[in-house]
């Protein structure tokens, strides 16, 4: 079973702050982590390898710093890691990123591809399905349980708003996973030591045979016009006093807006 897991190195968005004077992001000192959903994707891949045999190849498209995320993946059970990196890929939106990943995966070959539901910096949840489209394979989103894999078919539970669907797909297939699927493991001693010694394989433009007009800023159909800090509500009012007084005042206001 050839398993490929796509991960992304992201800033820990829980730690990001806004500079109140300039209304811009402060990224200084914010640690880089593996996108939390991708940890679940990696765990899913490693579990399948342990059960059915095979290899887990972890890939990431990113700048050279992303190597540390790949090393962490080794400590968590990945067999092989590849950094998809090239100056030409910089500035990619989800379309160009998915195209690039798909070219890499085509070269590597895969039976099952795991992706996290969404990245916590972009939050689009688009790369998984778009990559599947470029590869010409089916995908299933929001997988919360894998029921079985046999005879070239996989059956999973796909999380919906008010429950789940049981969905079946032939292999090869791409799955995006949610946290409910599993509990990511801790690194192993062997894994951590291996992660320090492994040489990271790289793939660039030429290696993945990508079209210039489909990658990077040039290949991206969406463009960022500007960014700005979210607006703060202007009609705020603090209610002071003893708890009894506060409750009285609140009830008064609630009556005014006809909630009582």
């Amino acid at each position: 079973m050839k398993i490929v897991v796509c991960i992304k190195q992201v800033p820990d968005t829980a730690e990001i702050k806004i500079n109140p004077e300039t209304n811009t992001l402060v990224r200084e000192g914010v640690p880089s982590i593996i996108n939390p959903y991708d940890l679940h994707a990696l765990e899913a891949g490693v579990q399948i390898k342990e059960e059915l045999g095979g290899t887990v190849t972890v890939i990431t498209m990113g700048p050279p710093q992303a190597e540390s995320a790949l090393r962490e993946a080794i400590s968590l059970g990945a067999d092989e890691v590849i950094l998809i990196s090239d100056r030409a890929f910089a500035g990619s939106d989800t379309w160009a990123t998915s195209y690039t990943l798909s070219r890499a995966i085509k070269k590597i070959g895969a039976d099952i591809i795991f992706c996290g539901k969404q990245a916590i910096d972009g939050d689009t949840a688009q790369v998984g399905p778009e990559t599947a489209e470029f590869l010409g394979i089916p995908h299933i989103s929001y997988v919360k349980k894998i029921e079985y894999i046999r005879d070239g078919v996989i059956r999973v539970q796909r999380m919906m708003e008010d429950g789940y669907d049981v969905v079946e797909s032939p292999l090869p297939v791409l799955l995006t996973v949610v946290k409910e699927l599993n509990e990511p493991r801790m690194p192993s001693i062997r894994g951590v030591l291996a992660s320090r010694r492994i040489e990271i394989k790289k793939m660039g433009m030429a290696d993945i045979e990508a079209r210039e007009d489909c990658v990077g800023l040039k290949g991206s159909p969406t463009k960022v016009k500007n960014i700005f800090a979210p607006e703060r509500r202007k009609d705020s009012m603090m209610i002071d006093g003893t708890p009894e007084e506060q409750v009285e005042k609140l009830i008064e206001e609630m009556r005014k807006i006809k909630c009582l």
Partner: protein
Amino acid sequence: MDYFLTEEQQVIRDLARRIAEEKVLPVRAELDEKEEFPWKIMNILAKSDFMGIYIPEEYGGLGYGTLELCIAIEELSRVCLGVSTTYAANALGTYPILLFGSEAQKKKYLPDIASGKKLVAFALTEPNAGSDASGIQTTARLEGNEYVLNGTKQWITNGGEADIYTVIAMTDKSKGARGASAFIVEKGTPGFSFGKKENKLGIRASATRELIFDNCRIPKDNIIGRPGMGFIIAMKTLDKSRTGVGAQGVGVAQGAFEVAAEFAKTRHQFGSPIISFQAIQHMLADMAIQIEAARSLVYSVARYIDSGAKDISKESAMAKTFATDVAMKVTVDAVQIMGGAGYMREYPVEKMMRDAKILQIYEGTNQIQRNIIGQAIIKETTARM
């Protein structure tokens, strides 16, 4: 202080600490309250390669030594002694096989132990044989191709949860100290059952049970080494595992110290944080001195053992005695520094104090340890004259 650990030792320390803080700390109070065996944590440690730290690579382990094992035990103990006892007891139970087992026995049992698939327990103590280990009454009678075991073992750590038990039993009463032998008994063997789980003062997550042998038949090949080697095997096993207990002492003392110091910094009385008062500072200073001294001794002895030294009884006894006495004193002082809060279950130090007591008692009470050291001194002094 830097102990110049190797890369592997640092990796083990950092990973053990991470597992302790992320996986053990959130549940330690509940495990203690409910006396719940920490299966989930044992599985996490197994998956992360911790069960095989001291087991040779050819049997599926990492092939490291005593110091590496001590570092792992220390980090787990810093967070919960109940969990670290469960973990460390596996090594105690495995040493007889590792040090004296035949190639066939090693091949059969060590891989499952290294992978964490099976837990282990060491069974020496009986109702009438605690410090006086030679007083054991469990017998093993040779009948054709089998040994038949009869008797009871008391207060066995991991009893009932482990799959593999290394048991010391009398094969020839007339031979006295040379009349005992060591055996491997597997859970599920007919005639082998367990008593109820003991209700303890501390390390309540650790399972302690009686083992009952009632005409329990095991294959002749399950004897470790030769008949009559039982007590030698037990003594050598305990020599090896003592530094682990020392590491437990260092760990729990460190954990208690950190909680107390943090509390002292944030607790204000008389207009100042109490850590600014000399009385508290002197207590913390003494605690810190003791912990560092204990750690230095335990690490030094571990390194000495790993260098291949043959005679390690005195040194390992010293490490165990000193570090565990330090642990008791430090945990009591930690409760004292925290005052009323230290006494409450809501805070972790009362548990650490309850847990620490056992360290001075099991694997040879500290009184027995002093006997051992005394005997060694006599031997050495006579030799010089």
